[in-house]
């Protein structure tokens, strides 16, 4: 059963998540992820032959909103969590947009 995560996978996941990990952190993350995959593997024990994949548990569709503005100026609340701000904006390290 036991899943194996390669060094390349950890490297790739780090890049995708924009994380810089130390060697020790990489080792720990690898062990954690292997455990998680083993846990998820339990699902493979179920026989899903002939069952439609679904993304929803409720038989619901077409839940809509009308196109009417009801939200006002939300900037105060939005910026309340900003570690750094300037000119009513979040201030972040230089990023080329």
């Amino acid at each position: 059963m036991a899943n194996k995560i390669s060094d390349e996978t950890i490297e790739e996941v780090g890049i995708l998540a924009k994380l810089e990990l130390t060697e020790q952190e990489k080792k720990d993350a690898k062990a954690d992820m292997e455990k998680m995959l083993d846990y998820i593997d339990t699902l493979n024990e179920l026989d899903t032959e002939g069952i439609e994949p679904m993304s929803h548990v409720f038989p619901l569709n077409n839940v809509f909103r009308e196109d009417i503005v009801t939200n006002g100026d939300g900037s105060l609340d939005t910026l309340a969590n900003a570690p750094l701000k300037k000119d009513n904006s979040f201030k972040v390290p230089k990023t080329i947009g």
Binding site: L16, N61, F64, N71, N88, F90, K91, P93, K94
Partner: protein, 477 residues
């Protein structure tokens, strides 16, 4: 002999829909508000917030899909596209991958023998990201989430285009179509229409496609054309040198007229899509589709035919005026107000086009009101101002949307219709130009022109040249 190359181009076009609210929350989509004023927990990705789909987004997307001859997916769903970037507060973008709203359409470009179908692979609904502004002062970036969650439709074409001209024709066609539907204003400069260009080259006659690159950051038709020429040349140069084209995303810098590859970290293409658990499927019934079809406004081709018939406007003029919905709206309103469609069309075709070109503006950027153009036409028709003055007044209307009647009054530009005054000036001009009078009487028609010119000059241009000519002839008989 030098090798011949063929350019293969496909486009991903993003269009911001003209809804009042965002795609999943009731925040305003208005352009240009102070940073972060149009935000709430949903469009800033706060934990526990739940998106609810704006029905109008589906209506607009389906209307565009139908106009582009697409098949509507009767049950479509949303998916999460995962990536990390400061403009994306949720760390994922809600988009559609597995069951997009529409597939397999086309639009036609060109006319007559050069008519060609550009196939549309698919269209999907998604949310826009926030905006990053580089702060020169302390070399950081500032993030504004007002645009986060603004609804987009992405239109993905097949690689059916072969030149920059075809790309521009395709984009113009889409833009006109979407503007007529009222689904978006499609302003490239403001970013409400954006195009990413996928381009590869191959030796003429080759069957296999070459490796393609994707070019981003193209915000005008001119930039798109330049970027296509530049990328085609770059790829051919690589191949000629025996090197390979690398599949990558490149950013076009229009000031430097060059592109550069984005760092691989920015270009991570593993988006780990999965079905969006917070949104239920959208079922689009046959009745709904019929209703959207029925509500479709008059489209460009119908309007063009109507202009030719109803107003007797020539084909070429009707094509130019109807290409921009905005210009067509101005034309119709002004024509209805002054009752002189041909005169209105003339102002649009000559002076308006000239000024647009001079200022490198798009027809969508015309900011004068049809009322003022109609008023100008009426003033000219009534003989209150002459054509030279009218041109000057029109430039003011074009630039500042002034009210022409008040303006000519204020500036003293009205024609002098006082016959006594005119006669006085005529007598003076005739007295001062005896030779011209003799020449005219001797049969030299040209001499009259000189006398008209002198009179107009003496009256500071505020006379109707037709009237001056008539009076001169009478006087000299």
């Amino acid at each position: 002999m030098a090798k011949q190359y063929e350019t293969i181009i496909g486009l991903e076009v993003h269009v911001e829909l003209a809804t009042k609210t965002k795609i999943f929350c009731s925040c305003s989509t208005r352009f240009g508000g102070a940073p972060n004023t149009h935000t709430c927990p949903v469009c800033t990705g706060m934990p526990g917030s739940l998106p609810v789909l704006n029905k109008q987004v589906v209506e607009y997307a389906a209307a565009i899909a139908l106009a582009a001859h697409c098949e509507i997916t009767r049950e479509c769903k949303f998916d999460r596209k995962n990536y990390f970037y400061p403009d994306n507060p949720q760390n994922y973008q809600i988009s559609q991958l597995y069951l997009p709203i529409a597939r397999n359409g086309y639009v036609e470009i060109g006319a007559g023998d050069t008519k060609k179908k550009i196939r549309i692979h698919e269209m999907h609904m998604e949310e826009d990201a926030g905006k990053l502004i580089h702060d020169e002062w302390d070399d950081t970036s500032l993030v504004d989430y007002n645009r986060s969650g603004v609804p987009l439709v992405e239109i993905v074409s097949e690689p059916d285009m072969r030149s920059a001209d075809e790309v521009i024709a395709y984009l113009t066609k889409l833009k006109t179509m979407i503007q007529y539907l009222g689904a978006s204003d499609c302003k490239l400069q403001e970013g409400s229409m954006r195009a990413d260009v996928n381009l590869s080259v191959r030796e003429a006659g080759a069957k296999e496609l070459g490796t393609r690159t994707e070019m981003k950051n193209l915000n005008s038709f001119k930039a798109i054309a330049r970027a296509i020429e530049g990328e085609r040349a770059r790829q051919i140069e690589l191949l000629e040198a025996g090197r390979k084209v690398v599949q990558e995303t490149r950013r076009w810098d229009d000031n430097k007229e060059a592109s550069y590859a984005m760092r691989s970290k920015e270009d991570a293409k593993d988006y780990r899509y999965f079905p969006e658990p917070d949104l239920v499927p959208v079922v689009i019934s046959g009745e709904w589709i019929d209703r959207i079809r029925k509500n479709q406004p008059e489209m460009r081709d119908e309007k063009l035919e109507r202009y030719k018939k109803e107003f007797d406007i020539p084909q070429y003029d009707a094509e130019i005026i109807t290409e921009s919905k905005h210009m067509a709206d101005i034309f119709e309103k002004a024509a209805a107000l002054c009752g002189k469609p041909k005169k209105v069309s003339n102002w649009l075709m000559v002076e308006t086009l000239r000024l647009l070109k001079e200022h490198e503006m798009e027809p969508e950027e015309i900011s004068f009101s049809p009322e003022h153009l109609a008023e100008l036409v009426t003033l000219t028709e009534e003989g209150a101002i002459n054509s030279t003055v009218a041109k000057k007044v029109f430039e003011k209307i074009f630039a500042e949307d002034i009210e022409p009647a008040a303006y000519v009054e204020e500036q003293g530009l009205l024609n002098v219709n006082d016959e006594g005054e005119l006669l006085k000036v005529l007598q003076k001009v005739i007295a001062e130009n005896p030779q011209a009078v003799v020449d005219y009487k001797g049969g030299k028609e040209k001499a009259l022109g000189a006398l008209i010119g002198q009179t107009m000059k003496a009256m500071k241009g505020k006379a109707d040249p037709g009237m001056v000519s008539k009076k001169l002839r009478e006087y000299l008989q």
